[in-house]
Amino acid sequence: MIDKSVASVRAAVADIGDGASVMIGGFGTAGMPDELIEALIDRGVGDLTIINNNAGNGETGVAALIKAGRVRKIICSFPRQSDSHHFDARYRAGEIELELVPQGNLAARIQAAGAGLGAIFTPTGYGTLLAEGKETRRIDGRDYVLEYPIHADFALIKAHRADRWGNLVYRKTARNFGPIMAMAARTAIVQVDEIVPLGSLDPETVVTPGIFVQRVVALGASVARAA
């Protein structure tokens, strides 16, 4: 019997070690897997490479991980925001490395990793600072930049419902990076509001097929929504 459900967030992240690369879903706080991140902080590991759209908002999620000093490098598109103070301080102190990637290239590079592509040619960033030193090519009269896939050891993702095979449905704009990060990471770990019996997710509406998911952990409806 296939059963990808794990009893606790603690058990779900138990093999993430020092120096791991970890994709974290979420756009701002929507879709941010706060409970998995808290469990990762509790493990005490560090020297992590984090891949997320942002570099933390406020005090929770990726911001908490940065605040705790666990992040060596962050790959993201939009670090600087009104509430990114923990990242800002570490970055200015030279304690965290930043790889800035245009948002669509970030998504395309993650998806390319999940799809087994060796590289992609993207028009985004051509002629800008973010393409300096990179190989370019003109194809059918348009200029493209060669960009490589972004792989990761783990992905931490928040979805709405799962079954024990790891099929996922998401909720509203919390979906964002979840489906492509699940594909790209060697081990995709997903927190959900509930795990439902096999066969009860409508197969026409499954967004992430279970083949891309290794672990699911049920937390109950999120505090924010219950409030």
Binding site: A30, Q103, K172
Partner: protein, 213 residues
């Protein structure tokens, strides 16, 4: 001579967005364009974090932290709307499926080069987000900005001095003084506010301008 205020600029941009258009409105000033789209005109707003058919802000108390826009503010979804993941969202831009995007800018060149993500100032932490994808991906990229900086420098320039977002990507600029078309032929004035002359506008911008009949 009365310069257009922000609402008047937004209303002017809205006039150029036709029925049936798929549109992305950038963070900040462009967001205001949504308030001036006539209710009987079906325009589908895309938000890069993963929705089409974005509606206005919800009533107080109805906010959902998992239903937000690219500026991370709570929004609503209209009938016919859809959610999708980030790779699909940016495929909509890069793939040329978005008809119009409206962006803010630090500078735009007369040839349509855009600078809107980074001042290049020492110590500034850069953030790019979806600006580069939007700028080069949409079928038409509009910029909405004040013509002059607070210090009176023209933001319509011969060549951008700030780091570029995209090359030759902007087609039209809406400002508080005038509307310009930009491109391979340089800048032309589409319309000006009452009381302004081409000579005076030329003086403000310091770039060659023409006015097509």
């Amino acid at each position: 001579m009365k310069r257009l205020d922000r609402d008047a600029m937004a209303a002017r941009v809205a006039r150029d967005i036709p029925e049936g258009a798929y549109v992305n409105l950038g963070i900040g000033l462009p967001t205001r364009v949504a308030d001036f789209l006539p209710v009987d005109r079906e325009v589908v707003l895309q938000s890069e974090n993963g929705l089409l058919g974005m509606g206005p802000a919800p009533a107080a108390g109805d906010e959902d932290p998992e239903l937000i826009n690219a500026g991370k503010q709570p929004v609503t979804l209209l009938a016919g709307g859809a959610f999708f993941h980030h790779a699909d969202s940016f495929a909509m831009m890069r793939g040329g499926h978005i008809d119009i995007c409206v962006l803010g800018a630090f500078q735009v060149s007369v040839h349509g080069d855009l600078a809107n993500w980074h001042t290049g100032a020492p110590g500034a932490i850069p953030a790019v987000g979806g600006a580069m994808d939007l700028a080069i991906g949409a079928k038409r990229t509009f910029v909405m900005m004040d013509l002059l900086t607070r210090e009176g420098q023209s933001k319509l320039v011969e060549a951008c001095s700030y780091p570029l977002t995209g090359l030759a990507c902007v087609s039209r600029i809406y400002t508080d003084h005038a509307v310009f078309d930009v491109g391979p032929e340089g800048a032309s004035v589409v319309e000006m506010i009452d009381g302004l002359t081409l000579d005076a506008l030329q003086g403000l911008t310091g770039v060659p301008l023409r006015m097509d009949a």
